[in-house]
Symmetry: C2
């Protein structure tokens, strides 16, 4: 772990702690000791405290007064269903809006490039896959032109760190094809088709993830 340094320590600490949680360097449900974390990052407890306060707003940690912070436990099956439901509300609407508004050549090319997903090769395959998948969904939400919609999609995404460990190989290839189907509908300027393609993608992804809960 590198000592954090930039303009404001808080931002660095925030990013560092977020990464620790997302990569499961801090086990879900584990206590987070402020002093120990500060020593590990070679900073004082104050910016750590500030970063944790922000992370609590993101839902990645929770605070019990006079006891301490805790990394948020993994999503339960029910919470996962809620998350999917929420994405089904937001993301098809975003896709429809992008299709309705239309994209210029550069935007479309960029989106199409991000629709591709890395294969199952390489050491950090799962991390690379989820990171690229996140980029695609975030970019699409951003192109909706509605900043609040974009923020909401990004915020939800943080909870998917759940699947960093157990990850079904079935995702590779299929997800990329579904992404391209969404891009095609967007490129055609067909809001209904874009919305439907996104809905199908999300429900399919949900079904692919479900076995995870069986095995717990």
């Amino acid at each position: 772990m590198q000592p954090a340094r930039r303009i404001t320590l808080t931002d660095d600490v925030y990013a560092a702690v977020r990464a620790l949680i997302m990569d499961h360097d801090v086990q879900p449900g584990a206590r987070i000791n402020i002093d120990a974390l500060a020593r590990r990052l070679a900073v004082s407890p104050t910016p750590v405290r500030e970063a944790l306060a922000r992370l609590e707003s993101d839902g990645l940690v929770s605070k019990k007064p006079l006891v301490g912070y805790t990394a948020t436990p993994l999503l339960t099956r029910a919470e996962f269903e809620e998350l999917v439901e929420m994405r089904l509300i937001l993301e098809p609407a975003a896709a429809a809006r992008v299709a309705a508004a239309g994209l210029d050549g550069a935007e479309l090319a960029g989106l199409r490039a991000e629709a591709d997903l890395p294969g199952p090769e390489g050491a950090a395959a799962v991390a690379a896959f989820t990171a690229q998948d996140a980029r695609f969904h975030h970019t699409l939400a951003g192109l909706s032109g509605n900043r609040m919609l974009h923020d909401a999609v990004v915020r939800l995404r943080a909870h998917l760190h759940l699947f960093r460990l157990h990850f079904p190989a079935a995702h590779y290839g299929v997800s990329a094809r579904e992404h391209h189907r969404i891009v095609d509908a967007v490129a055609a300027g067909d809001p209904a088709a874009a919305s439907a393609a996104m809905r199908d993608h999300l429900t399919a992804a949900r079904d692919r993830h479900l076995p995870f809960f069986e095995s717990r």
Copy 2:
């Protein structure tokens, strides 16, 4: 202003600062001096810093490194349109889900009670109206059973402190009737009607608010 005291100062400070902003005791766009705020609340700067970090996640203040915090400026017309668009995505979906799930007698009675809105009498009429309106929308979102959906609706609502000052009298009465139409559809277990009623309510409220931007 009372000195803040409870279990954790941070929570109290958070609520206090939030109230300051919502009530326009701190003008939108104004700089927020951490030390001055700490003295005013009779606490040290540390919990103030922590509270401000949380408020930044809520979008009520923004931070410029090495410069300080600033109360978020009032929504522009474009941002207001984005907010409405976002509510149109979330809240009709929430209403439909509540209607589909059905409510027991107590829940329905509670919701119907909150649909009523205080009239234009009294000193703090605007504050009472908006507070009650918020309660209705929050309660409905909460009854959807989806916590993330509820949180998203509540989070958006914070940005409506915009209208604490200039408030059209046309809202009184009309809004309550629209609320009851939503409750009726929910009580009838008709998701499509509930969704439509909410959509109509939001678009009508949007139109009632629009003159505010003409007068700036």
